[in-house]
């Protein structure tokens, strides 16, 4: 399946929240929809889910206008909320059936997913008796109990501890391996960097970057090298300046060398080695997702 989001505009009270949002998502690939708080992620996903209608633009699934009610969709809204005083198993069945699952299928899925998030023992408990983090996991299960073909998760990592974040990552990977179409939004770049195939960055209601994460990293890391050495930044610059080194940046791990187009990394390494300089590491540089975001959209805070 292929979901195309084409030229979406949306305003509230004459304030333009989404400006020409366009990107694509394919099944079998993890798509991270990333942006700062208030960038327009939730508004985009809500428009996609038909919570409100966009002012302009279309959502197409395999070329057809996408209407959520015609497909099996799993949706984790940003506004978390289920029935606090209702038995967990009971309400999961209700939501699963509302989203088009049969009773038998939903019941099987409830047991499977509750087991996956290690909450099967709580099936007969009321939701309000669980901790916030566990309630969040129940919400994620809610989005999956109808065995959806499309999974739309708005900020699924918020409120989860590192261990549960790992569990969620595995779940998303499992869904992707089943060729489901998965979109999830996040403002926590480090969580999604490890397993995202595709990313779309939104900033102030506009898409600033979209594509394959590895390709973006390679493109952004072109003519850059990561070098770790005890040498000072100035000495390193003086040593390699004549061989095409343009600038040196530094992060917590090492120096990041920016070189001129056509500079041979072998020549640079050879120079360091022949000068008898200690080289702890020497590798191509791929910027982190955070770096890419800061570079593209400004400060992340």
């Amino acid at each position: 399946m292929k979901l195309e989001i084409n030229n979406i505009y949306k305003s509230f009270s004459n304030k333009e929240i989404l400006k020409d949002i366009s990107f694509q998502v394919e099944s079998g690939k993890a798509m991270g929809f990333l942006g700062r708080n208030g960038a327009g992620k939730t508004t985009t996903l809500r428009a996609l889910m038909g919570v409100f209608k966009q002012d302009q633009g279309t959502f197409l699934l395999d070329g057809q206008v996408f209407k959520p009610e015609n497909y099996k969709v799993g949706y984790l809204p940003e506004e978390r909320g289920m029935y606090p005083k209702e038995e967990i198993g009971h309400q999961l069945r209700y939501f699963g059936m509302l989203r088009g699952g049969t009773k038998k299928e939903v019941d099987q899925n409830i047991d499977y997913w509750l087991e996956r998030v290690q909450l099967l023992d709580y099936k007969k408990k009321k939701l309000e008796t669980l901790s916030k983090g566990n309630q969040q996991k129940i919400q994620i299960v809610e989005a999956l109990v109808n065995n959806p073909d499309l999974v739309i998760l708005d900020e699924p990592f918020s409120g989860l501890d590192p261990v549960n974040s790992m569990v969620l990552k595995d779940i998303i990977l499992e869904l992707i391996s089943q060729k489901k179409l998965v979109i999830f939004s996040s403002h926590q770049m480090s969580y999604v960097e490890e397993f995202c195939d595709e990313i779309t960055l939104i900033n102030q209601g506009q898409i600033v970057l979209t594509g394959n994460l590895q390709e973006i990293k390679e493109k952004r890391g072109k003519n850059h090298l990561r070098v770790k050495t005890p040498l000072s930044k100035e000495d390193l610059y003086d040593l390699l300046r004549s061989q095409g080194l343009l600038a040196i940046k530094e992060d917590k791990q090492s120096f990041i060398l920016e070189t001129a187009e056509g500079t041979s990394s072998q020549d640079l390494l050879k120079t360091l080695v022949t000068q008898g300089i200690q080289v702890d590491s020497f590798s191509p540089y791929y910027p982190s997702l955070t770096d890419i975001f800061v570079e593209t959209a400004g400060d992340l805070t």
């Binding site: 038909g50 209608k53 959520p68 809204p77 978390r80 909320g81 289920m82 209702e86 059936m97 509302l98």
Partner: protein, 416 residues
């Protein structure tokens, strides 16, 4: 609408599982059973004594002052059997006895056809007054007849032998015979609407404050959601009312033998199947109309606490229907009742009262029902729109009417 059944089942089961529902139903059913068993219970406490036994009844004590030798003491004692008579010297002694509470009532007999009754406090009715007056009248009649040379005995026998047979043919409705059942049904309807109306409004408002709404609204069409909720609450109310009704019926059937014949006859007159049918059709339609209104208003508030104030307007409609129906029960021809029987917010009760108490032409009933049904459908459609808009807009402020207008305007701009 595919999910209507799912929503209905979930909400209906949820309502039935509620402690408040279980406790109220059990308590009211028990009260109904006890209430209908009162004649049996009273009989059990009477210890099987026959009230019409030979024991002379003690009707109270009377203080009597006979002035001007009006009548002899023995004649007076014969006139007031069952009373404990004390003959006193003068008025002062009588007053003292009355004020001290030694006698219940006092009489000063001025002549054989004049008396003054003396009481401490005036109560509604004194049995002694009536009896004394009757006895004095009979005594004087006898004297007068005897003076004319006619035997009082013969006169009485002749009078008693004349009998007039009469019966009434009611062409229209006998409002008396339906009074009890109509009164009862109006109260039951009022209570169920107030209870379940607020229930629907709270159900919807709670989903909003729990933020469950976004999952629901993206899972299924709002039609199914609001319809499911209203139907579930509606049928829970009907179910509860049926259980209570069944308890009353069961209690009555079990204790029927101990009811006096008059009550049995009265109840038999009251339960007219056609009347119950009109009640059911109008009552249920009006009930759902109001539930839809309550549901829509529940969607307009942000917090459950705001439900009572927001639903005031609808509550006023229900109160109006209730009071108009109760007040006009004794004056079925009033214009107020006629008008109310066409206004959809009141007709579900008012037309029932009209039908029960007067001869209402069939076309008027059909016209009123047409208006009621049409309004119910319109309000149901409107409530879907308000629900769709209201549920996703938190922090609304303003009065209910403004919010409804805003919701309808927005829903036009943002159809699902």
């Amino acid at each position: 609408m595919n999910n209507l059944k799912t929503v209905f089942q979930f909400e209906f089961r949820g309502l039935l599982k509620k402690k408040a529902f279980k406790i109220t139903t059990i308590l009211v059913c028990l009260l109904a059973l006890i209430g209908t068993s009162i004649p049996t219970i009273m009989k059990a406490f009477d210890g099987g004594e026959d009230p019409s036994g030979e024991e002379p009844q003690d009707l109270g004590s009377i203080g009597m002052v006979v002035e001007n030798d009006a009548l002899g003491e023995d004649i007076l004692e014969a006139m007031l059997p069952g009373f404990n008579l004390t003959f006193l010297e003068d008025r002062a002694a009588l007053s003292k006895q009355i004020l001290d509470g030694d006698v219940d009532t006092g009489y000063i007999l001025l002549s054989k056809n004049a008396y003054i009754s003396v009481v401490n406090n005036v109560t509604l009715y004194s049995g002694a007054d009536f009896l004394l007056e009757q006895a004095l009248r009979a005594y004087n009649e006898n004297l007068a007849l005897a003076e004319l040379g006619i035997s009082p005995q013969e006169v009485r026998e002749t009078m008693a032998s004349i009998e007039i047979e009469s019966s009434q043919e009611v062409l229209g409705k006998d409002s008396q015979s339906n009074y009890f059942v109509v009164y009862f049904l109006i109260i039951v309807t009022f209570m169920i609407i107030m209870f379940y109306g607020n229930n629907v409004a709270t159900l919807v408002a709670r989903e909003k404050s729990d933020r469950t709404m976004e999952i629901l609204i993206t899972s299924t069409h709002p039609n199914s959601l609001i319809m499911g909720k209203v139907l579930a609450s509606g049928f829970a109310g009907i179910f509860q009312a049926s259980l209570i009704g069944l308890s009353v019926f069961l209690g009555y059937t079990l204790n029927k033998g101990n009811y006096s014949e008059a009550i049995q006859e009265f109840l038999k007159l009251s339960i007219d199947p056609q009347l119950l049918l009109v009640y059911a059709i109008f009552g249920i339609t009006g009930y759902f109309l109001l539930l839809f209104l309550y549901g829509a208003i529940g969607a307009l508030v942000s917090k459950v606490e705001d439900v009572p104030s927001a639903t005031t307007l609808v509550t006023m409609f229900v109160m109006a229907a209730y009071f108009i129906s109760l007040f006009t029960l004794n004056m079925p021809e009033s214009i107020l009742l006629k008008v109310a029987s066409y206004v959809p917010f009141t007709s579900f009760m008012a037309m029932f009262v009209r039908y029960a108490t007067t001869s209402t032409p069939l076309f008027e009933i059909l016209l009123s029902y047409g208006i009621l049904l049409g309004s119910t459908v319109l309000i149901a459609l409107m409530s879907v729109k308000i629900y769709r808009y209201g549920t996703l807009n938190y922090g609304n402020s303003g009065n209910t009417i403004t919010l409804i207008k805003k919701a309808l305007k927005e829903s036009k701009a943002n159809p699902k």
